[in-house]
Subunit: 144 residues, 2 copies
DNA sequence: TATTGTTATACTCTATAACTATA
DNA sequence: TATAGTTATAGAGTATAACAATA
């Protein structure tokens, strides 16, 4: 367990502020596409050649598995997501349709658009920030 | 409008990942205190000597003003928040009670606790990160 | 007449429990 | 017996519209 420095605490506070702004963007973008937050989060987490199951999605969405049925039902009705049989015939594997993928890419494009404060930084600061975030991410998942 | 560099895009992508992790922490901490996400967000945004009105809170919570009545009702019933008359006698000003403030501080303490990836960074990286975030924040609000 | 906050209402989201079909 | 997903259902959250009090 690493020591909690004053720098770490202050940086964490600033990150929370930035993340609240980001949360706002996420909700607004979901609404624009007529997606509930959970539906948008589902698209966000699905890959085109998917391997995610209903239960795994429930874990990611932090909700009961029973809700995932309805969430996926609506996405499937809109032709964005497809359920297919897994090897174990109890499980269902989720994948994106072509429409689902293009909507997901639109969503990603908007959410990954760097916020103003980031664009306002010098190129040098941007590069340094990216390196530090990468190091932090690498430290967090030493094996995965 | 600043140029969107490759570094900025990649950094934005990493920040979105961090947001998702942070969202998880927020929901878990709220649940521990038997607070709905909106109730927790309300405490988070209220100051002890408050000036926030019901409408302003609705804006922050990104929900209809009619919901704020119920959210504040429950917090008031738990003795965490107080409604008082504004100068304009139509508006109600929200402030934290002593209990509300201590609960808010507990919440802040947990959410501002630096995540593992941040603690895993070198002291030098932490300091640099903090400086860059400060510069970004200063650039975002040139006047405020 | 416009605005702040509340109420009434219907719709959606969520969790719990019971059910099915596989294993 | 245990697990993946669904269904039924009740409770909480949400938006819309109508309302009271004040401006």
């Amino acid at each position: 367990m690493a020591k909690v420095t004053k720098e770490a605490r202050e940086a964490a506070a600033l990150l929370v502020e930035l993340l609240l702004a980001q949360k706002r963007r996420f909700q607004l973008n979901a609404r624009e596409q007529a997606l509930s937050p959970q539906q948008a989060a589902t698209l966000w987490n699905l890959e085109p050649g998917g391997t995610l199951t209903m239960n795994a999605l429930a874990e990611i969405l932090m909700c009961d598995a029973s809700n995932v049925t309805g969430i996926v039902d609506k996405l499937e009705a809109r032709g964005l997501v497809r359920r297919s049989q897994g090897e174990d015939r109890r499980v269902k594997v989720l994948s994106l349709t072509a429409d689902g993928e293009s909507l997901r890419e639109a969503l990603r494009g908007r959410l990954l658009e760097p916020p103003e404060w980031l664009l306002g930084l010098s190129r040098e600061d941007q590069r340094t920030l990216l390196e530090i975030l990468r190091r932090g991410r690498a430290a967090e998942e030493p094996s995965a």
